[in-house]
Subunit: 220 residues, 2 copies
DNA sequence: GAATCTATTTTGAGTAGTCAAAATAAATCC
DNA sequence: GGATTTATTTTGACTACTCAAAATAGATTC
């Protein structure tokens, strides 16, 4: 059985490679896992030995088919657990990420299947992140962000990719939940910010960085 | 934060000391945790250094107040998780022990409190094992067992202390669930078995060892 | 085409846990 | 009261991580 350290490495490699097969650098991986780069190198070599990843020295890592399978299963656990915590236990949107981080390594496939059924087989978690299927399929549709979408057109909010509790809290307080309708009133590249007008509630300003973590699609 | 190894040692010491303050031998502890005795000795010394237990060399271990507090909190998690798995996820009575063994170390106090509320603050788990309160109080009432109780008197089944999946499966198939009414038709010390007559269903024979793990109280 | 900068890898050492097997202490037996 | 049995402890070694800091490889600059 894979240790939770192994599961975490694979999950972070998956997330950093954006679903595609690009190489993930040691620096990025180390930062993402909060370890020093040397640790990431050592661990990645071990992961390569066990067949979970392919390591190109000085270039980066990529998941093998087996590594990807395992990483998707961890991601599925993480996102279903988050969904359970929010919809059944009514926990705070912003707090569930940290909880799921622990539980994703302790939950069995059997429990997961029952949780999935209880929740009605959702295909996204409360933040709009797609939940991989049992077979390892995941919706990898590319959406526009508030930093890149058309101005003054009505938009439906699909997903918040920033996992930090502070940002999620801010988003919730301003009604920026998946499903909400908004439009970008103004985008000022020079100032590095956008002005957002939610369908309900007052207008608000957002940095381009923050706007980039909110994914949208044209509303009707 | 205590590692899950530490949590397991403390939990097993608590269970082996029967709630009281008796010393637990290294041999018993090692067997219970499936480690060799030398490992238990080493670990217990570390636990003594961190103030969780008191170690009397060549005699045994005992929990300190702090160790007991932590052990009870782990036991509370274990038993509430078991209850959740059976009553909400409809999992098999016999399978939940192994699941809870993992989840008890990954679940936060916040999640636990919400689970507890969702379940209506139960005071026993599906096997009849008492659930410690948030404050660390636990019902330590002493019950008779089918091996020690009066013969031919009506009894209410309160608890099954054997955690093994096989025994629990057997018990379930014969209607031996907490709350069931039975009486002991015969007890044959020489043969080492008892004959049990459930209120509903046919009579069945049980070894004294098996009978000893079924706790009962006088019915009505 | 050296010199420098930056990312990565290597090396050496530490922590938390484990086992196998030898040493020791306590209890029991004759 | 010695000899033996049994439980416990000690010792040395291994796995799975981790970090700090030195070495190295590529890329970049002048």
């Amino acid at each position: 059985m894979a240790t939770s350290t192994v599961e975490n490495y694979l999950k972070h490699i998956l997330l950093l490679s954006e679903g595609g097969g690009e190489l993930v650098s040691m620096g990025a991986l180390a930062t993402s896992l909060s370890v020093v780069p040397g640790t990431a190198t050592t661990m990645v070599k071990a992961l390569a030995d066990s067949g979970h990843v392919e390591h190109r020295p000085r270039q980066g890592v990529r998941l093998t088919a087996e590594g990807r399978r395992l990483a998707l299963s961890v991601l599925r656990k993480h996102r279903l657990v988050e969904t359970f915590l929010v919809t059944v236990l009514k926990m705070d949107w912003a707090a569930v990420h940290a909880e799921a981080e622990q539980l994703e390594h302790a939950i069995s496939d059997e429990v997961l299947d029952r949780l999935d059924a209880l929740l009605g087989h959702p295909d996204t978690d409360p933040h709009g992140d797609p939940i991989p299927s049992r077979q390892g399929k995941i919706n990898s549709q590319v959406y526009a962000t508030l930093a890149t979408c058309a101005v003054a057109k009505p938009l439906r909010l699909v997903r918040i990719t920033d996992q930090s509790a502070e940002f999620l809290q801010f988003a919730e307080q301003n009604g920026l939940l998946p499903g909400a309708t908004v439009h970008v009133a103004d985008r000022n590249l020079a100032a590095g910010l956008i002005t957002l007008k939610p369908a309900k509630g007052p207008a608000l300003a957002l940095s381009l960085a923050a706007a980039g973590s909110i994914l949208v699609q044209p509303a009707r």
